[in-house]
């Protein structure tokens, strides 16, 4: 229930307008330029970070042992590790984020950092401050170690997934999360397919347009000239069809695509949080059983353990409930925004294309 921890302070930057303005590709590594505005007024922090820094940040967020109920927090999901010249499998994992020249990835990163910096609990972490403001890259030395509980999670998952919850709210949340995670994932993937196909069409249109240019025949013959000009015009038409497709695809990615991707990752994060809580619940239940069965000698110790687990569990539940409510509101808003933006952008593109096509059509009609 308590959010404010002694010693912790809000970061010295605005959380809502952190930007990832640049991505530098150096060999196999991507370096991101992160810009944040100082709270104190004018001035910006410019820091260069690599993906390992992000992992460091996340690890520190996870492992804030001193924050009660930290496990109940839905940690903002960190995008998958980007790779230059990634294999098809990695690209598939990246989904929308792997498209284009990493702009979608930067967007995702940006939104991750904003979420962290605006999160009522997480923003108080020192790591955030360091990550955003320190000129030196933070702990690159501890790169590998911080995949802390994921493995154990994966092992225990099968067993604890179906664990009956004592709280109906959380049981419902878990069930809902399970369903919707699958749906969102599949929707995201399908939508990605759509975008990929649109890109293919754009490329095909480009080829066709280029090939049409080769059909142009020189000569004085009016018929030939007529045909040539038809080819040139048609090539223009296909060029604009190509542009239309490109921008349609881009719109898809930049709005709904990213929205669905974020949603999907967030749901994963929620799932993890719920799972952590379920683990805690299981732990608590064991402790209770142990306390009941315990011999009088150990009873006190057991009771102690039980009590500690209970408090922690309650903390977690409290935080989790808040987090879930916050997340529900946020995701609806986020999705709504994505849908509205998507719709508006597509409308704009469609109108522009319609105008262009109309012009082309008039051009053709006007031809002798």
């Amino acid at each position: 229930m308590e959010e404010v921890q002694e010693g912790a302070s809000a970061p010295s930057v605005h959380g809502h307008n952190i930007k990832v303005t640049e991505v530098v590709i150096d060999g196999d590594t991507l370096t991101f330029l992160i810009v944040s505005q100082k709270l104190s007024g004018t001035g910006e922090y410019h820091v260069y970070r690599i993906y390992e820094d992000l992992e460091w940040l996340q690890h520190h967020l996870f492992s804030q042992e001193d924050v009660p109920g930290i496990q109940g927090v839905i940690f903002p999901p960190i995008p998958a590790k980007p790779q230059v010249n990634a294999s098809a499998k990695v690209m598939k994992q990246l989904g929308f984020l792997g498209l284009g020249e990493w702009q979608p990835y930067c967007k995702a990163l940006e939104s991750f950092l904003r979420q962290v910096a605006s999160h009522s609990v997480l923003k108080k972490s020192k790591a955030v401050e360091i990550f955003l403001t320190s000129a030196d890259p933070p702990g690159r030395q501890r790169v590998r170690k911080n995949i802390f509980n994921r493995l154990s999670q994966a092992v225990g998952e099968m067993r604890k997934e179906g664990h009956k919850d004592v709280d109906e709210f959380f049981q419902a949340a878990r069930d809902q999360n399970l369903i919707i995670t699958g749906c969102t994932k599949s929707a995201t993937e399908r939508f990605l397919d759509v975008v990929l196909t649109e890109q293919k069409i754009a490329v095909a249109c480009g080829h066709f347009s280029a090939a049409l240019h080769l059909c142009v025949e020189a000569g004085e013959d009016p018929d030939k000239q007529a045909f040539s000009s038809i080819c040139v015009k048609l090539s223009e038409v296909f060029e604009s069809i190509k542009k239309n497709m490109m921008s349609t695809a881009e719109n898809n990615v930049s709005t709904l695509g990213l929205g669905l991707d974020l949603e999907s990752r967030y749901q994963e994060a929620e799932k993890e949080m719920l799972f952590r809580r379920t683990c805690k619940l299981a732990e608590l239940e064991t402790a209770r059983r142990n306390a009941e069965k315990a011999k009088p000698v150990k009873k006190a110790a057991m009771e102690e353990v039980k009590k500690a687990a209970e408090t922690e569990f309650n903390h977690i539940c409290g935080v989790a409930k808040q987090e879930i409510a916050r997340y529900e509101a946020a995701r609806v808003q986020m999705l709504q925004q994505a849908l509205v933006q998507w719709c508006e952008k597509q409308l704009l593109t469609a109108r522009e294309s319609a105008d262009q096509f109309d012009q082309c059509l008039q051009g053709f009609r006007g031809m002798a």
Partner: protein, 804 residues
């Protein structure tokens, strides 16, 4: 245009009948003419002997002319006059020469007939323009003056005809196509030759009347005075023609009503002759006929007019070549005024010849052929007109009335010609309702073939038949067999598709099979439409049968892998081999360039086709992906707890569903607007290459013929050396035979070349037009789908905003 001449028979099926009837008309006319002559001689008495007399006139001059070919001119000039005198006395002679005359006349008449036909227009105009009132008065006087001339003219033609009856072939031939048609016309009008013969007879009769009426001129003095201005023109017309013999080549012969005939037969000799003849004719005829002051005046005027006429004639020639009604009309009207109706008939003949000449000489084959095809009806009309002139007074009004119908008829013809241009748009063939008939491996697809047309060649405006795919192939086989060797580009049908057919037969009802059927249906429709859009192919009886006949005999040898098909494949292979081995020495840069263009266009189109096909594949994929996205969006919506979001997501699913349809339509639009269009053109380019191959084959035949001729000549030389006269004769005959063949082959090659050229140009025009049309259609649908998309988004936006 050559095609139009071939076509002409159907539009005028009656022409021959009418020709047959002509003789009767002629007969009637004869009597009429006699009456006319009577009028001149003694207004009420009709001397039946007149008919005969004219003939002698013609015959005699002819004979005279025949004998001294070079001196003929002077003789001719003199003779007409003498003839007249003779005619008066020598009506007995008539019978004997008549036979000869008939022959001569045949030659003449044929030419004349042709010419006449062409000139029919002119005559019509003339008749229209005639001031009927003046005409009545003038008739007497005019007839005299003109008749004389006419006589002369007739004689000259006869002579020239005789001379050239042999020469005709070569002289007239130069316009190859035109000549062929002329020959046809001649055949058609053999019947009409009699009529022409009559005409000549008429003119002769008129000449009689002239001679006889020379005294009667006095009576007409007043009219003549009035006419003088008019008559001179007539004289002009004739004189210029003579004077302008040189001009004939330039088509100035328009003025030369009498001359055209001459030019027809003896162009070169005429020059010299005419130079002399002109003056002589004018001087003498006039002098002979008119010893009166008026006549002298005429002379003077005629002389002056000659010059003027020559000038005028020159000016006029241009228009005449084009058969400009207005100017021609003026000339002719004057002439007509000058000449009595009966004479006018002769004049019309001449004038017609003029017209023909101008056309032939100008090489306006297209027009010439078209008009020639119309000849028979015109000639009939002419004859009618001529018949009427024979009775001067009544005829005047009659001619006027006739003239109108004629002109009207001419207008109709013009309209028809125009229609030919627009024909393409007056027949629409649609292929619909593909239907599977039968089961198993004997199953086939039948299509409904509906034709909508306003063309008169079809009995009804709309008709529908059922055809199966092999029928379409059968049509192509027939057409390409018939027209391919002539250099025509026969539009090819879609290929047989074993895969598609097998799928269809097996009864797989998936989308690819439906797609196949639809593609084929579209291809068949475009194929048939291309065939009927081709002006020559549309005339083919097989095409009409294909469109109209209820039951077609089963097309054979179209089986995909039947024995015949296999044979065909082998043939094609050998063709390809010979194509490679025949190294054609391409002399025509145009063809060389075109062939290269076609080759590169073929490659380009193939590339384009592949690109469009891949585009279509992607579009289909997009449609599929959109569909699956719609499905998962719907699932997401149903899984969503937030009601507003859930609602919006299911709306989104619906929108995506609609978009899927849109993408699908776009895919098929791409397919049918571009992929199929391009596939069509790849096929057509194949046909174009085929026509090139046919041209090369024709060339090869010609070369082979030449080689053979060379060989024969060598044998002849050898035989000559060996001194074997008996075999030499044979060799000579063979050489003659091969020479003929070689010229024929060469002509065929030229013809095929010309056709291929025309067809390729037509193909290119069609190509540009077709593409433009298709692209416009494509863009229209693209625009439409884009607008539909806007609508969808517009509808979805409030839904998205409603989430909160």
């Amino acid at each position: 245009m050559a095609t139009s001449s071939e076509r002409s028979p159907p539009p005028f099926p009656d022409s021959e009948d009418q020709d047959v009837l002509d003789p009767e008309d002629v007969g009637g006319r004869d009597s009429d003419e006699e009456d006319g002559e009577d009028l001149f001689l003694s207004p009420s008495d009709p001397p039946l002997a007149d008919l005969d007399t004219p003939l002698p006139l013609a015959n005699q001059p002819i004979e005279v002319l025949m004998t001294p070919p070079s001196d003929i001119m002077s003789d001719l000039l003199i003779e007409p006059i003498s003839c007249q005198s003779e005619i008066q006395s020598a009506s007995e002679v008539v019978t004997e020469p008549s036979d000869d005359f008939v022959d001569l006349t045949n030659n003449l008449t044929e030419e004349a007939a042709d010419n006449v036909a062409a000139a029919a227009q002119d005559t019509a105009i003339i008749s229209l323009d005639e001031p009927s009132d003046d005409f009545v008065d003038l008739l007497g006087s005019e007839t005299e003056a003109l008749q004389e001339e006419a006589v002369v003219v007739v004689d000259v033609p006869a002579d020239t005809a005789t001379d050239k009856s042999e020469g005709m072939g070569s002289d007239t031939d130069p316009p190859g196509e035109g000549k062929e048609e002329v020959e046809e016309v001649e055949e058609v009008e053999e019947a009409s030759t009699a009529a022409v013969f009559d005409l000549i007879g008429d003119s002769g009769g008129e000449s009689d009347s002239n001679t006889q009426q020379s005294p009667g001129i006095d009576t007409f003095v007043d009219p003549l005075v009035d006419l003088l201005s008019d008559t001179p023109p007539a004289a002009e017309a004739q004189k210029p023609s003579m004077a302008t013999i040189d001009l004939f080549n330039e088509d100035e012969g328009s003025d030369l009503f009498s001359d055209p005939l001459l030019t027809m037969s003896a162009r070169q000799p005429q020059k010299s002759l005419f130079g002399e003849t002109d003056e002589d004719l004018f001087g003498e005829p006039l002098g002979a006929t008119s010893k009166k002051t008026i006549n002298k005046e005429q002379k003077d005027k005629t002389v002056t007019i000659k010059a003027a006429a020559v000038g005028g004639g020159i000016n006029i020639t241009g228009p005449l070549q084009e058969i400009n009604p207005a100017e021609a009309g003026d000339l002719f009207t004057e002439e007509a005024v000058a000449t009595v109706p009966s004479v006018s008939s002769t004049s019309t003949v001449n004038s017609k010849t003029n017209g023909v000449h101008s056309e032939e000489e100008t090489d306006i084959f297209a027009e010439a052929t078209v008009e020639l095809s119309l000849d028979s009806p015109r000639s009939e009309r002419k004859k009618e007109v001529m018949a009427k002139p024979s009775a001067p007074a009544p005829s005047l009004s009659a001619t006027a009335s006739l003239a109108k119908p004629q002109s009207a008829a001419l207008e109709e013809m013009d309209e028809e010609e125009e229609e030919e241009q627009e024909d393409q748009f007056e027949i629409f063939v649609s292929v619909k309702d593909p239907e599977k008939i039968g089961d198993g491996m004997t199953a086939y697809m039948a299509y409904k073939l509906s034709t909508q047309t306003t063309l008169p060649m079809f009995r009804t405006k709309t008709f529908t038949v059922r055809r199966r795919f092999s029928d379409f192939l059968g049509l192509y086989e027939k057409l390409s067999e018939k027209h391919g060797p002539n250099g025509y580009i026969v539009p090819p049908p879609p290929e047989k598709s074993i895969l598609g057919m097998t799928k269809m037969k097996v009864g797989k009802d998936d989308s690819s099979s439906a797609d196949f059927v639809e593609r084929r249906r579209g291809a068949l429709e475009r194929y048939v439409q291309r065939v009927v859009n081709h002006p020559s192919l549309l005339q083919d009886p097989d095409v009409r049968e294909f469109l109209e006949r209820e039951e077609l005999p089963r097309a054979v040898s179209t089986q995909a892998l039947s024995g015949a098909g296999f044979l065909k494949m082998i043939n094609k292979a050998t063709d390809a081999v010979s194509k490679m081995t025949i190294k054609m020495n391409e002399s025509d840069v145009w063809f060389e360039d075109k062939l290269q263009e076609v080759e590169s266009a073929d490659q380009q189109f193939r590339k384009l086709h592949a690109l469009v096909e891949s585009l279509v594949v992607h579009r289909k994929e997009l449609s599929l992906n959109t569909a699956s996205f719609a499905k998962s969006a719907a699932m997401l919506g149903s899984a969503e707890d937030n009601t507003a979001l859930s609602r919006a997501l299911s709306q989104l699913a619906e929108v995506e569903d609609k978009m899927e349809q849109l993408h699908q339509d776009q895919a098929s639009n791409d397919t049918f607007s571009f992929a199929e269009l391009i596939a069509d053109f790849i096929r057509l380019l194949g046909a174009v290459r085929g026509s090139f191959d046919h041209r090369i084959k024709a060339w090869q035949r010609w070369q082979d013929g030449q080689a053979m001729l060379q060989k024969k000549r060598e044998t002849e030389a050898k035989l000559l050396w060996a001194n074997k006269p008996d075999k030499l004769q044979l060799a000579k005959e063979e050489i003659a035979e091969w020479e003929a063949k070689v010229t024929q082959y060469e002509r065929e090659f030229d013809r095929v070349s010309a056709t291929v050229r025309k067809e390729v140009i037509r193909f290119e025009k069609e190509k540009a037009k077709n593409f433009k049309r298709q692209i416009i259609k494509y863009l229209e649908s693209l625009l439409q789908s884009q607008q539909q998309l806007i609508k969808y988004w517009d509808a979805f936006l409030p839904e998205a905003k409603a989430i909160a």
